[in-house]
Symmetry: C3
Subunit: 327 residues, 3 copies
């Protein structure tokens, strides 16, 4: 089965991982199933798998993010890959080298994969469109567009608690408009068959015609949270306040901060998620973030397994077919 | 034998290494003996041991220190561990994430050990009190409190030259008041049975009631250095000058700088030590720092062996007991 | 055969790699031949060789260069060495530690090799003269003096396209005066027997008495490029403009920028080289840089193989003789 999506190679296998949008349920399920293997590796005393030995993975972070870079670096090292961290601020782009020339150079050094974080939407796609055939690109967050490994670790976390996606109500609370995390989650939830995906937030932070994304829009927590199985709170970007999109942190917390009282509107066994880092007392109260329904730290652990799964699905498969080809 | 010290696990085995204070002579001797093994590994052409393969060690340096970070990184790599350097200045704490949330996240990524340097006394203890059960903490220097691996590499260096601690006179010269190195050395020397531990410095840089630490206090080099076997000079923190605790570098050098003439007061076979980096011509003259009695560079080499010993005692033992448990 | 050159040990084997000047054709050819082995390793799916396992290589970059540091780091990791990146700006030299004290400390940590980049000519030699006997130094660029691994990767690239050095005309275009790359290339080309080495540039950027270096000097592209087999363009350092050595980028491009028209003066099968990063439209037009005669990206790939060759010739030989000695 041939596909035109840039994310797939000519044989229909995943080559880049740029967005959850447009992927099949089969592809997402394959990633989730593969991640289950790594979830068990992580708990062993020796957390190493030799799958990507001899592969080189370059972290290209145009936007600083210690947490995300660290999880990708750990995931790569636990797969025995070599990791190069390129600090874009101090790199040759300062000397007037263009982005494409920098990519050409990394390609020529026989890197195998670029992990790209960039403040501009579309940057990872742009890079994927321009890299050499032997390079794969993983989008580690681009502007307000997509953050697909975050979405997949969220799906993995949900599935571990609520195995049947087709029976779920999921609410995402906060700044849907600017959130690459929300966008990637919404696509993934729809692909995986969740029948009721809700977004909750003030009018200024919900994109117009959000329903076209496959969600139900709510502006009040009281309606939006009722009977949901999964509550996802988003990080409030404080710079939105300056842009006059929001009145104040206090007012936001009053309306949309997740408190035990508001959480009680959801199902008793609802889980609470957050992509981190948390603004305690802004989008979520500490008693909820640290409470029995919270799976926030599980998300972090699952992030390693899911990133190991995506990296090895993309790069490890190459290895296998190479050795098969040489037999 | 059960212990309440946070540094030990429920079976009385070393779990964290935060301070030399309160440890037993047996524990310190075990570390020194274990380090002898690594001192020989370091001199082999292939300086690798697979003891910590699959373990992840995170360097959390809240206070910059290339030298100390490098020795811990090298020690970990030579034990085949994966090392993650977290630059705290650029990490999510800037985004308002609390220290504890950052620790929770690193724990969730299944790190095994945190190497912590912090400008505040007690920071490593605070972190050790709050980490998950699978995490060990090594204090790489906290404020003016403790720097236990530095003290142990100093003990290791002393023992290689003067094997019987119970027959030694040791003098520590300089800013005892603010020195975490001196504090950890004094505890270790007392625990190991050194009968005559001396501190030498101006009144402003010796803590009041220093005798309670188990030292003899001297304000004159002429008396303090007489017949000692080991001379430890401390780095003069130049910022003390601004605090009016010291008149000038010149005057300090005249009174407390280690010159060949002053060193002649000690025993002929006395060794000269310094934790580095050296202020040449301030606390020590170059002819002494580079002279035949100096073991300053041996200290650096021994630092690797001692850090490998502490890391592997703490983490390697876990491995062994895991494999024993599974038999 | 004993040699006095600091680059060789007492048995005449390469110990440091500081400059191509004064080396023998045999030595350069040995490096090129050795690099051929690694050029094939790089193309394998598992790009690892265990040659330098247990060796520690420290990148000492006093002058920032992400690209060069990355290639050395990748080369070392693909040889299975441990790599330490020392950020000189944040290191203890800020605390007043001298360069030599910093080197002594790295030696004491049993590093095996220093990769040194420095803005001052002669810095790598100075360090090589002062390191302990077990340390080797590779010059990764010092001021306007030398950049020998760059020159050797260029020789490697030339030889792959034009195997007989003794039949070549090679032209180097640009700022010869300030270019460590040009200086190292000129020495290497002469040593390898190239009968016609040319430099082309304005009077202000050609050193006086350049002929003594073994080159023919041209100030016009029309004469200099005629019938050459290899065209090397140099990066124009824009700060030269401020120094009034050059009128403007436009004027420089008009006179010395490599265009298809000017390239047509060279032989039809001439190759075009550039050490990177490129100033497109200043020293070279994009159609040439990306055109069929360009081997610029091959240079980057070959840089890895050549650096692996130099590192393993220097450090791997030590390993072998150690194991031979122990038999």
């Amino acid at each position: 089965m041939m596909r035109k999506d840039i994310q797939f190679d000519s044989q229909g296998r995943l080559r880049h991982f740029l967005t959850t949008e447009g992927l099949s349920r089969q592809t997402l399920t394959e990633i989730l199933d593969h991640a289950e293997n790594f979830a068990s590796v992580i708990n062993k005393p020796v957390k190493k798998a030799p799958l990507l030995r001899g592969k080189t993975i370059a972290n290209l972070f145009f936007e600083a993010s210690t947490r995300t870079r660290t999880t990708f670096e750990l995931a790569a090292k636990r797969l025995s890959a070599d990791v190069i961290n390129i600090n874009i601020q101090t790199s040759a782009t300062k000397k007037g080298e263009s982005l494409l020339d920098m990519l050409r150079n990394l390609e020529a050094m026989h890197c195998d994969m670029f992990i790209v974080r960039h403040m501009q939407s579309g940057a990872a796609h742009f890079i994927a469109e321009h890299v050499a055939p032997h390079i794969s690109v993983i989008n580690a967050g681009d502007g307000s567009h997509a953050h697909p490994t975050q979405a997949m670790l969220d799906m993995f976390t949900i599935r571990r608690h609520k195995p049947d996606f087709t029976a779920l109500r999921v609410a995402i609370i906060g700044d849907i408009m600017h959130s690459r995390v929300a966008r990637s989650q919404i696509h993934a939830l729809n692909i995986l068959g969740v029948p009721d995906v809700r977004v909750i937030g003030p009018h200024t932070l919900i994109p117009p015609q959000a329903e076209h994304l496959g969600v139900h829009v709510f502006h009040q927590m009281e309606q939006g949270l009722r009977d949901v199985d999964v509550v996802i709170t988003l990080r409030l970007q404080r710079e939105r306040m300056e842009g006059a999109l929001l009145p104040s942190e206090d007012e936001y917390f009053n309306s949309y901060g997740l408190t035990p009282e508001k959480l009680a509107l959801a199902r008793n066994d609802a889980i609470v998620m957050h992509p981190g880092p948390i603004n305690r007392g802004v989008e979520i109260e500490s008693t909820v973030a640290d409470g029995p329904q919270s799976v926030i730290l599980e998300q972090v652990t699952n992030g390693l397994a899911v990133r190991m799964a995506v990296m090895s699905l993309i790069l490890g498969r190459g290895n296998k077919s190479d050795s098969e080809a040489s037999q």
